[in-house]
Symmetry: C2
Subunit: 307 residues, 2 copies
Amino acid sequence: MLYIVGHKNPDTDSICSSIVLSHFLDAIPARLGDLNPESEFILKRFGVMEPELITSAEGKELILVDHSEKSQSLEDIDKGRIIGIIDHHKVGITTSEPIIYIAKPLGSTATIVGELYFKGMMEFIGGKNRELKGDLAGLLLSAIISDTVLFKSPTTTNTDKDIAERLAKIAGIEDINAYGMEILKAKSTVGSMKPEEIVNLDYKEFNFNGKKIGIGQVEVIDINEIESKKEEIYSVLEEKINKGYDLILFLITDIMKEGSEVLVLGNREAFERTFNVELKDKSIFLEGVMSRKKQVVPPLERYYKNK
Amino acid sequence: MLYIVGHKNPDTDSICSSIVLSHFLDAIPARLGDLNPESEFILKRFGVMEPELITSAEGKELILVDHSEKSQSLEDIDKGRIIGIIDHHKVGITTSEPIIYIAKPLGSTATIVGELYFKGMMEFIGGKNRELKGDLAGLLLSAIISDTVLFKSPTTTNTDKDIAERLAKIAGIEDINAYGMEILKAKSTVGSMKPEEIVNLDYKEFNFNGKKIGIGQVEVIDINEIESKKEEIYSVLEEKINKGYDLILFLITDIMKEGSEVLVLGNREAFERTFNVELKDKSIFLEGVMSRKKQVVPPLERYYKNK
């Protein structure tokens, strides 16, 4: 049986892309962890069931969405058979057999899924030529809004905006901005969450030249929501850092200020050299840095590669 | 400037896919080495100019076609910027930035290019919505025939056949089989070639779990054409093997008999274990083995991985 699955600590893009692609490919939408409050809000809003929780790849055919790195996938991913990848991140895997790979440098995987639909390309990836109804269009729209932080992230392209507008029409959403603020607020319920929950909300592990790096991110409408919890978050990360990590970064991204407060643990030099800054404290505010994928991962990977 | 480039020791699929994609993407078609006799025959047949020979990636934007492994690309590929990959092989690269990646497990890269055209998907990869004229359709058809050995290779899919038929109509080729035999004969001019030329005709280097492996292939209509040169080919490979290789294989594929005589140098045990055979001589005939990509590379890579 074919499963379409997003990354660990699933975000809205992983959840929604998996659900919508599964509709066209007769596959089972799957997830590797609990929904975050934003995804819960969105699925409820459009009345769509959550994907199936899976814990093993054994005996499964898999299409990975919104990631390609094994470290972000199932622990026993090698026991399954990856037949495809649909993603908007860098290429983070090599395979021993030819697979379907569709990637583009866009703001979200949902944008690619939307484009595949509007361009009649579902058959190209082995899917059926079906209709995209309002509920599923709403999910894709929400995922684009979430991943591009309502088109404010520097990863945003014109394609993201175009596809979002076309999806909004199908979903019957007249004011994308107003709906977007609803989503961002749902995302921003960190005020009521425990520090462990905040850390794990969107935490990804990378392997850069043999070193284990963790990069978490939380997006808030106002950084003050979380200011009082910074110390506690730092303590949670301190417990993690000794588990084989060379470096852990945690980005508290302020959507309105358009920048991120970055907590740094472990190899502080790697961080300072990469971003050409001097760390005086446990954290530093980086103006304009909103995208882990585009603004944090590539320079850090280059640093570890050339070190 | 954007260059579209196939692999080292270019075959017809690399050459033709590069030329046709460049037409849609306003790019410069490029090659990394001399044309083989088959590709020469085909470009002459359709009156199309050969791609530009390039020797450095420095300062270039690149789309790789028909390969993704760095070992098959320009030596200084890291000095260029890979913005896309269109391929039908396994994923053999990781990147530090998001790129365009279009891959499918089909018989040739040309089939994917043809499908992108017929499904109106050139815009999806950043190209223009242009017409595919007879000459370029002829190139793609020829590349499909070449890579699938006139649809006899086990890599052949129904999509390869469908796309080939649609291309043949545009190219004005009524009898695909008759034209295919012409191509295979052009490919099979090995009788008049020097052993070094035969070895380098279609020789690829791989990195399996840190070990360097070379796998060459030549396709002949009748194995007797080359029988008298087997010893000389072996000698050429013997000169290579000490250059850091763990194993070199050379496949003399008999199109009519549908199998390959495989010359084995270096780690003979790796070969014997992988293919579950006993080597009594310098070479062995493997019934039904025609595809390096599908029947040789994957089991060999698994062997090295699990060893």
